[in-house]
Symmetry: C2
Subunit: 178 residues, 2 copies
Amino acid sequence: MFKINYCNQCGGKTAFRIAEGEDRKRDVCHDCGFIQYLNPRIIVGTLPTYQGKVLLCRRAIEPRKGYWTLPAGFMECGETAADGARRETMEEAGAQLTDLHLYALYDVPMIDQFYMFYRAEMLSGDFSAGVESLEVELFALTDIPWGEMAFPTITKVLRQYIDDLPSGHFNLVEARIG
Amino acid sequence: MFKINYCNQCGGKTAFRIAEGEDRKRDVCHDCGFIQYLNPRIIVGTLPTYQGKVLLCRRAIEPRKGYWTLPAGFMECGETAADGARRETMEEAGAQLTDLHLYALYDVPMIDQFYMFYRAEMLSGDFSAGVESLEVELFALTDIPWGEMAFPTITKVLRQYIDDLPSGHFNLVEARIG
């Protein structure tokens, strides 16, 4: 995930080692013994649709600046996953959603991330680019810019949606990526 | 979640404040400006069954030492959620599982946790208490010690299982606790 050098409790130097009672290497403080655990983080996102079109955002920030994505971001403390997905959609795409349906769970263990995507209908055709988006646009499913997608998770959930659409059955999908 | 006092990158003092470009208070380093994000953590667990009985562990550690729980713990970096659930079941209950089926997702925003429970059949009747368990036992569903359960999430997923059992339909449940 990233390198830890100091204890966030006492400011002492840490070492990446197996502490007593632990079964794997972690960042352990030389001075106070505090273990700074790192755990996978949850990315919550949505697949917002309106009149058969899907809402995509073009990223204004790295990584993958300039590429298209669905509204998604790190789940925050104190919120539910669905609330986080709603919040990200408002922040990045200025769009309000009706019923959210959990649709895809993707493990991405190589980067310690766990993705949760919700399908949702937009409350209206209103949307606007937030500070993390260069532009936001409704795309017909035949016009999705597949060659300019930001992340494999985004491509995967959109392809799943297109596969499921004819049947109208959107069963929850679980997959590992990478 | 817990209090951060020092930057884990440079060892400088941190302050809980809104950094430039952020929309909420976070732990920001006075010296190098590094933001130490805290995000909800995923708890992965299983509801292991064998010949109609369910496997419970009596906790050997705080919190709720001496109370009964299902095998569950923090998802680790580098693993999938299902792998983590399998690992916790082996570590705490010494039990091997066959097919895992995702069964319950619980948001517990008050303590910044997100629970994922899998149903699973045990590969055999073998099990044994790991270091975090005082004892492990197979319980008939009529004998579950409801008054001695460790956490509300555990009670909830067990009650759901008992509700679903007669129909044989174990649809994924999503709920918020607290």
